[in-house]
Assembly symmetry: C2
Homo-oligomer: 195 residues x 2
């Protein structure tokens, strides 16, 4: 998605340790006009798919997911990060290891909002090591719902997450795949770039 | 907002301890078609106001804020809840006491995304004791930005938050104000109801 790549080049900041800061438009300050275009693009890419629910994870996935959901006219469910003990029987639960924060947390979703018959699209802002998407996929599987695919805004193509998700046979659409970043020059190279 | 009140009556669940569960459409599963109507209503109520930024708080405020922001064509900034120590100089910070979780947490927003010249509308899903909105208002004040007003989807009119916010001279628009709830019968009465 060229509009998105241009924006990442303009407003993304490359930091030490393979960190790409995009908090000017994606995950702290959020440009909802850009999100609208992102919603159109996911709708185009999943036009053939039957979807009745979008699943994301708090916090920064929620904004994107809601605006994408407007294109599909389906509800969004967001998995909650929690440190409280599982409420037995009321929720599906999975574990996610955070790349950014270096710790493991539980994610939960109420059984009321995910189950057999649901056709689920996962949406998230970032794909790095893939643990968040894998956790969401686990929730879908545990619920008996069908996982239709996953859409992420930015995939860090030099980390393992994208390959891991594709290797599981999950249909993955990434709107921008960062192939490499140079923390000295700030240069960002995208996969499939012509130049 | 009648559509919203009808939906609260239909899908809201009154629980012991003055808890109103609306996680079927507002803050766990999210009905984005309803959110669109909510966006239109906030745009109508703040039509006279000059706004260049919407500020909300993670997690459940983000979805509403993003869809409301589309009506104003302004970015959303969400305050993050954190337990990490303040990064001196880089963020504005305030404290919020949670009614639901019974603890105090810090909220932060990057100085890059809020400052003098900004005209800010606060958006949140719920108003109960008002602590979250007060914390957001503190961040706006600390940044030197102008607080234009606050919009909440559901105000619990029998708790102190709404009065506290209004007493501070903040322009508050609540789309549904719950006057009372009956946990035995599940009945919900709204302020300004004709019946």
């Amino acid at each position: 998605m060229q509009l998105l790549k241009d924006r990442i080049r303009k407003d993304g900041v490359v930091k030490a340790g393979n960190v790409l800061k995009v908090d000017r438009f994606l995950n702290h300050q959020m440009d909802t006009d850009l999100f609208y275009e992102i919603g159109l693009e996911f709708k185009r890419r999943f036009a053939d798919a039957e979807i009745n629910k979008i699943l994301t994870i708090e916090a920064s996935g929620i904004g994107i997911a809601c605006i994408v959901a407007q294109q599909f006219h389906v509800p969004v469910v967001f998995a909650k990060k929690t440190k409280t003990k599982n409420i037995a029987g009321e929720v599906y639960t999975s574990k996610v290891e955070s790349f950014t924060h270096g710790r493991v947390y539980d994610i939960i979703v109420s059984r009321e909002f995910l189950g057999k018959g649901d056709k689920v699209l996962l949406i998230d802002d970032f794909l790095a090591n893939g643990k968040a998407l894998e956790g969401l996929a686990d929730l879908v599987e545990a619920s008996g719902a069908e996982l239709v695919g996953a859409g992420v805004v930015i995939e860090k193509g030099f980390q393992v997450g994208g390959d891991a998700i594709r290797a599981k046979g999950i249909r993955l659409e990434s709107l921008a795949i960062v192939e490499s970043m140079n923390e000295e020059t700030g240069e960002i190279t995208f996969r499939d770039d012509e130049a």
